[in-house]
Amino acid sequence: MTNNWIDISNSDLVFVMGGNPAENHPCGFKWAIKAREKRGAKIINVDPRFNRTSAVADIYVRIRPGSDVAFLGGLINYVLQNEKYQKEYVKIHTTAPFIVREDFGFKDGLFTGYDPKTKSYDKTTWDYEFDPATGYPKMDPTLKHPRCVLNILKKHFSRYTPEKVAEICGCTKEEFLKVAEEVAKCGAPNKNMTILYALGWTQHSYGTQLIRTACMLQLLLGNIGVAGGGINALRGHSNVQGMTDLAGQNKNLPTYIKAPKPEEQTLEEHLKNHTPKKLHPTSMNYWANYPKFYISFLKCMWGDSATPENDFAYHYLYKPDKGYYSWDEFIDDMYKGKIEGLVTAALNFVNNTPNANKTIKALQNLKWMVVMDSFMIETAEFWKAEGVDPSQVKTEVLVLPTGDFINKEGSMTNSARWIKWKYKAVDPEGDAKDEYWIFGHFFMKIKELYEKEGGAFPDPILNLVWPYQNPYYPTAEEILTEINGYYTRDVDGHKKGERVRLFTKLRDDGSTACGGWLYCGVFPPEGNLAKRTDLHDPLGLGTYPNYAWNWPANRRVLYNRASADAKGRPWDPERPLLRWDPEKKRWVGDTPDTAATAPPEKGIGAFIMLPEGRGRLFAAKSYATFKDGPLPEHYEPYETPVENVLHPKVPHNPVAKVYKSDLDLLATPDKYPYVITTYHLVEHYFYQTNNVYSLVRLFPTHVFAEIPEELAKEKGIKNGEIIKIVTPRATVKAFAMITKRIKPQNVAGKTVYTIGLPIHGGIQGYLAKLLKNNAKASLANLISPNVWDPNSRTPEFKAFLCNIEKA
């Protein structure tokens, strides 16, 4: 989240789309209700289903699953055509004035540079036109130039007229305009809109672009960096933000520094490729400090054996050849037998990946598998799945019982980037151990094996810094010291081993070690700031500067410099998130993006992490663009009942990751006419809560599908009857819950029915006993298609096709 949970209550309009916070983040959603109570804010909810967020929303609009970009594109078009964007903000805080290259274009659903054979883009044309003299992109502050980013947007989104939006989304024009008017009001400087979204937007084959549409809308309305504004992803697990930062996906080492590529044989080459150059004189371009973070990370991993002479042990790091190697390719490679071992901790592989049958088949090709969890999960018992003969499964499986959150001390990072500490209450059940113990023993054992027997390239293991007093049982605060970073030698007044105060102090000469630069500052010499519980809120905007610690540098709202105009005066005096105090010559309020004493006149851009120093309305190639285009475009889900009204020849995202194995079949509307969307309920959390008596009890039907009344009448399905949801991949059995909350929609001239299927089936805990032989066929992800967003590798769970029959 750019802002934080309590900040939502500072908002004038809470726009909830692509997410159901009332059900999936209830205690966070209170702040939207408080916004209504405190500021008379309106809550708008756009969702295919009338869910429990809609029950308390002021305005509810039903759209067809998968038509989100059309709706948002329509809003951008409305804001641009009616000049409702915040002109002053757009001029100084976004890349609107930047001029785009002449040869960039978009026609019939494709951007320039598409190569059908490789199904990928050559992105050279997606860039600015550079001024040879300064080396910076050309700009037109008057925003008149036809190819300045603002006009490029105007042209691109001109096709998203209210009529077209109604046609694609299945809502009425009036409904759309009602929302558009409310949203447009928030273009005013003193009216802030916050957008709350979650997996409803991410789980599409064009999820990343979908979210960018919302970011661009907020930038145009001047709502980024302001109190009660921002783009707020309501993330999944309690520590998913922490694990995204620290555990890092394949291409990332902890805190978003990159794994080296094979062609970057020396550290110096790697650092050159990943240290961006400024694209505007006022840009702070903070990633320029990449070398400090990288070398500090190497020092943290391999300590003394990482010396300037051996490139700080750069060669110890693995160099993957695939650009981005994630779940989809894991399954595909396992399915092809390329993977020998699988180690998962607190992750239910089978239930969480689409087309679960393929995953179950893939797991059978493994040699061994180690599962660490506190419950017996479907992944560990894949050999008991439907139609699998255990005697044929050669995989050796090891299940290690781990304690859960209450048995471990440590910190968790919530969706608003607050790092909060928790204490251990009781010991784990039975012989279960917590992960500190397990990895302590595992590492010491494998190190011992390498010391005794040697093996392939043992150096990174043997020289790994393992600075724990009890190496077999590391403690939370020892590890937090590593993550926070410490001085490796006495340097300018700091003792060896003293913890670093903030990431600005990190150095690239090997004198500092830091496991995660973003988290540097959580554990200064004074003590563990994650444990702070001071409830003072001087600004009254819910920032609570002294409660726990917020990466980066305890900044509670990202890009808060953008909440003030060129002279440092807040757009809305009533919500002064950040103000330049001329007497004190300092910024006052939340921790500023820029240096606290940098006067506004210097004009340092608010978006300090971007080379342009400004919000990117156009994802130029010069800095980390996207695989499927610099601008969002409405593409139909891979399994859709209607053709793409805007460009029939290119119906789907041309660059989406689609797999073609024998099990990866795609449904077509003729045999599978109904759209189906999968989602969570407030009563359950993924599959773990099937082991919790008082939650399984809350839904008598345990596993149900929400069927519109009209469809049920047509099919003669009674309430409570068990029905089969059929897709080419598999069939799921569930109870039929006939409801009025999903209604048929008229989309592109066709009547489209939508069916809702909560994902909480499975065989864990009480469900196996209750559902008996239907349990194995109750897992929602048996039927989801193996289609993934190309940038973030999120499966398209939210919109695909199925047919329903009586069981």
Binding site: Q241, S391, N691
Partner: protein, 195 residues
């Protein structure tokens, strides 16, 4: 309520008279209701964070005893932490039922192992489990380690072990697992951020 001597004397003549007629002199005084003792009065309270969604609500976990040594501790009640500025004492249905998650009968109690082709789990000790875990990783890594790729470039990686870190892990244990994964040079590393 035993009727104390003073209480008995307070029985004014009027009510005494009525009771004689009514109860033939029997005095079955009203023992009044006693309110149930607050079940968490003496319990040890620990501050923790709900493991479910990313609001990360602060909560108070009350355990069975006051922390004395000779007690096998157990969670008896969990409610929201009123001093956490985000949830301020509130919890959703999942948070409110955390006691049942922690004390669930389905909790795994022992390391278990399934040999190739077996039909049932076998219980094994922790030492054997750690031994197997380390042995498997070492064998696969040694066998499939790629020092140089086909183009002769030093890559030092192992592609054939998937090292998947789930999001329920806290920052510290998650980072510890990743640190070991990087040290082993595993390229198939992923965190549960996108599924």
């Amino acid at each position: 309520m035993e009727v104390s001597r003073r209480g008995f004397l307070k029985l004014s003549a009027g009510s005494l008279g009525a009771s004689v007629i009514g109860g033939l002199g029997f005095d079955l005084t009203q023992a009044h209701a006693r309110v149930r003792e607050l079940k968490i009065t003496k319990a040890k309270v620990t501050k923790s964070i709900c493991p479910y969604c990313s609001v990360s609500c602060g909560l108070l976990a009350y355990s069975l005893s006051d922390g004395a040594m000779n007690v096998k501790d157990r969670i008896i009640h969990i409610e929201g932490n009123p001093d956490d500025p985000i949830n301020r004492g509130t919890l959703c249905p999942k948070g409110a039922s955390l006691k049942d998650l922690i004390n669930s009968p389905y909790k795994l109690k022992k390391p278990m192992y399934k040999p190739a082709g077996a039909k049932e789990w076998k219980e094994i000790t922790w030492d054997e489990a750690i031994e197997k875990f380390a042995r498997w990783v070492k064998d696969t890594r040694d066998r499939t380690f790629i020092h140089k790729d086909r183009a002769g470039r030093v890559v030092n990686r192992c592609d054939s072990i998937i090292w998947a870190v789930g999001s329920p892990l806290g920052n510290e244990e998650g980072w510890l697992m990743v640190k070991v994964g990087i040290a082993l040079g595993l390229s198939a590393r992923e965190t549960q951020a996108t599924i």
